[in-house]
């Protein structure tokens, strides 16, 4: 006797490079969850997907670019943002998403992060924060909570981590939100908002690394992490970002913290050049790129 199982098509399949599956992420990892949200957000935002480009750096989260069925760039470690800056400014009609991890974006790429936010380059920056360097085996990073165990802080992390929303807002981001991998609808909603907003948008997503962070700190598996996110998260839209720092297994403030209007780099550049050069200024680079 045979049983036929009807499996409806996965609604996000068109947004995935299915010929690249299976992916490299560990069981219980949250990156795939965030990517599912990303695919749904792209569908909900009804963007022309041929004009959406995804740029990643290096690391577990950096692999998202390779699985997304979009024009995609897996760049060098820490440099997704400057690559994306060149791409966006040379062709402003593109929606440019930077999708990477906390180590990539904030440690080795930290300088680019603050400068792109300061310039207000129109980039949608999604940072999957798993508190650790996953791909290289669980070393301490700039987001590792104080006292946490990592392979290079075997006696506990002595450092104060970055408060990413506070950093992003201070540097000039126009949109700043934080969710955890537990908050799939909220992540999707925030991503849609980012796609619709112009300027430097930043979304932090706390995401479990069961293999390295959870295990080494005896915090259980991915499911345990989800329970922690569920129980410790407090939604406070508009919370002052200075107050949303994360401590080891402490409460997590989530929500949309910043949503302001500020002219983008390209708008300011065009204004400045038009004002100074008057009739001599005929527009920005996109005409040349398209010709």
């Amino acid at each position: 006797m045979s049983t036929e199982v009807y499996l409806p098509p996965n609604p996000v399949e068109a947004l995935l490079r299915t010929d690249r599956m299976p992916h490299i992420w560990c069981p219980g990892c949250g990156i795939g969850t965030t990517m599912n949200c990303f695919a749904r957000a792209l569908q909900q935002a009804r963007l022309d997907l041929d004009k959406v480009v995804i740029v990643s750096g290096i690391g577990c989260s950096g692999r998202v670019a390779g699985y997304a069925n979009l024009d995609s760039f897996h760049t060098t470690h820490g440099r997704a943002i400057p690559f994306a800056t060149g791409l966006k400014l040379a062709n402003p009609e593109l929606t440019v998403v930077v999708y990477s991890g906390d180590g990539d974006l904030i440690a080795i790429g930290g300088n680019h992060f603050i400068h792109a936010a300061r310039r207000n380059v129109d980039l949608k920056v999604i940072c999957v924060n798993n508190f650790i360097y996953g791909m290289t085996g669980g070393q301490v990073g700039p987001t590792t909570p104080a006292t946490a165990l990592t392979s290079t802080t075997p006696y506990g992390c002595p450092e104060q981590p970055f408060n990413l929303p506070y950093l992003a807002e201070s540097a000039g981001a126009v949109y700043v939100a934080r969710w955890t991998a537990y908050h799939v609808r909220q992540i999707t909603h925030s991503m849609v908002e980012m796609f619709r907003k112009r300027g430097f948008c930043f979304l932090e997503i706390l995401s479990p690394c069961p293999t390295l962070y959870q295990r080494r700190n005896r915090l259980g598996d991915g499911l345990e992490a989800m329970k922690y996110y569920k129980e410790a998260s407090v939604t406070r839209h508009g919370a002052p970002t200075k107050e949303v720092a994360i401590s080891f297994q402490g409460p997590i403030l989530v929500g949309k913290f910043v949503d302001i209007e500020r002219p983008t780099y390209l708008e300011l550049l065009n204004q400045q050049l038009a004002r100074t050069l008057e009739a001599q200024y005929t527009g920005c680079i996109e005409d040349h790129v398209r010709s």
């Binding site: 490079r17 010929d19 690249r20 041929d50 004009k51 480009v53 740029v55 670019a65 390779g66 069925n69 979009l70 024009d71 995609s72 760039f73 897996h74 760049t75 060098t76 820490g78 440099r79 400057p82 690559f83 994306a84 800056t85 060149g86 791409l87 966006k88 400014l89 040379a90 062709n91 009609e93 593109l94 300088n111 680019h112 400068h115 550049l269 050049l273 050069l277 001599q280 200024y281 005929t282 527009g283 920005c284 680079i285 005409d287 040349h288 790129v289 398209r290």
Partner: protein, 393 residues
């Protein structure tokens, strides 16, 4: 195709090498530059920043050279022609992205106006100490194209050439200037646009369904796509297959890296560009490039005036090295030695020794940087080399 006349400042000008380089980039159709200020290269982007908004392009000052050297690559994949300029310390920071451009076959131009090193060294004074770094600076195996102008005119001409070669081979191309060439002011003739040949980007003509981003054409160079055109392609610095997908397959890695090297190395002889003076009967050949070649020519002329058969070989395109031509010259009867003059403690001389393979003596006239050679010093070495052969005879 011919150059876009809007970017070509046709006429006779009095420019320094840095300014001429900026004009070369504009004439080549470059409308995007990113950079970080560093002496003695900064005048290039200053000129570019002044001129390019009037042509609808932009200069973006980035937070460091890592950012500059990858921002240009983002712009290239959006469809722009792009370059960055730097000097020693910044050149060191750009090495990873030269490798990324080589691996992802991103056509772009990087100008290095060389100054004394190592480290911060002599910011305002000349050197030619980055020549082997230009060849080998990024990790792993790859082949590079590098040009070495010796005048402001060549800073203009060879910057256009650099953009053309970058497009033809889909590779980063380096323009290895030096502080003197960058800051010396001379007559520069910019020809009208219809006399400037431009190599357009090699875009695929295939529909997205049939397109494989790294499937090479007959000359081993794959056709490009650009972002936003519906190709949904993937670019990675990881070892990748013809689809652009990462792989750890050792055979695929070997195939890819061999192709990246071969697409340039196979064409080394065709790429050769040298200037030759008095080589027909030369007993002593002076090999020099960049600013040093001008001093060397003077020394060669002084030797000729004394009845010594000296000649000059100047590589204009320095990487790939003009190996075949040098071997040919070195195997000629009557050659008593080769003198390599360069502002470093021995870089290109190693390449010369390798090519000559011990057939004739090779000598270095080098110093650590800060000034150009004196013609008298080179002349005396030429005389010594000629006399040494006389004594042996």
């Amino acid at each position: 195709m011919k150059a876009d006349p809007r970017g070509v400042l046709a006429g006779v000008h009095f420019l320094d090498g840095d300014q001429a380089c900026a004009e070369g980039a504009l004439a080549a159709g470059c409308r995007f530059a990113a950079g970080y200020p560093i002496t003695p290269s900064t005048e290039i982007v200053e000129r570019f920043a002044q001129r390019v908004p009037l042509l609808g392009g932009m200069f973006l000052q980035m937070e460091d050279e890592l950012a500059a050297s990858i921002a240009i690559q983002g712009a290239v994949w959006a469809g722009a022609k792009a370059f960055t300029v730097t000097s020693g310390p910044g050149f060191s920071l750009m090495m990873e992205h030269i490798g990324y451009a080589a691996m992802t076959e991103t056509p772009c131009v990087i100008v290095d106006v060389q100054r004394g090193g190592p480290s911060t060294g002599l910011p305002t004074l000349p050197a030619q100490g980055d020549m082997q770094q230009a060849r080998w600076g990024s990790h792993g195996d790859y082949e590079i194209i590098a040009l070495a102008p010796n005048s402001p005119q060549e800073c203009f001409d060879l910057t256009i050439e650099a953009f053309n070669l970058a497009e033809q081979y889909r590779t980063p191309v380096l323009v290895m200037m030096d502080e003197i060439v960058g800051h010396m002011t001379e007559r520069v003739v910019i020809p009208p646009a219809d006399q400037i040949e431009i190599v357009p980007r090699r875009y695929t003509t295939k529909p997205p369904a049939d397109y494989r981003p790294f499937a090479p054409e007959a000359d081993l160079v794959p056709a490009m796509a650009r972002a936003g055109q519906g190709y949904r392609f993937h670019i990675t610095g990881l070892t990748h297959d013809e689809r652009g997908y990462p792989t750890t397959n050792v055979a695929a890695h070997d195939r890819l890296v061999r192709r990246l090297v071969a697409k340039i190395r196979n064409d080394a002889t065709r790429l050769t560009r040298v200037e030759e003076h008095f080589l027909e009967d030369a007993e002593v050949i002076v090999l020099a490039y960049g600013i040093t070649s001008r001093v060397a020519l003077r020394a060669v002329q002084m030797a000729r005036a004394r009845g010594i058969a000296a000649g000059l070989l100047r590589p204009i395109l320095i990487w790939p090295f003009p190996e075949a031509r040098l071997r040919q010259l070195a195997s000629r009867a009557g050659l008593s030695g080769i003198l390599v003059a360069e502002i470093n403690l021995g870089q290109i001389v190693r390449e010369v020794e390798r090519c000559v393979g011990g057939r004739v003596p090779v000598r270095l006239a080098g110093h650590a940087g800060g000034s150009v050679h004196h013609p008298q010093e080179l002349f005396e070495t030429i005389v010594e080399m000629a006399q040494a052969v006389e004594i042996e005879r």
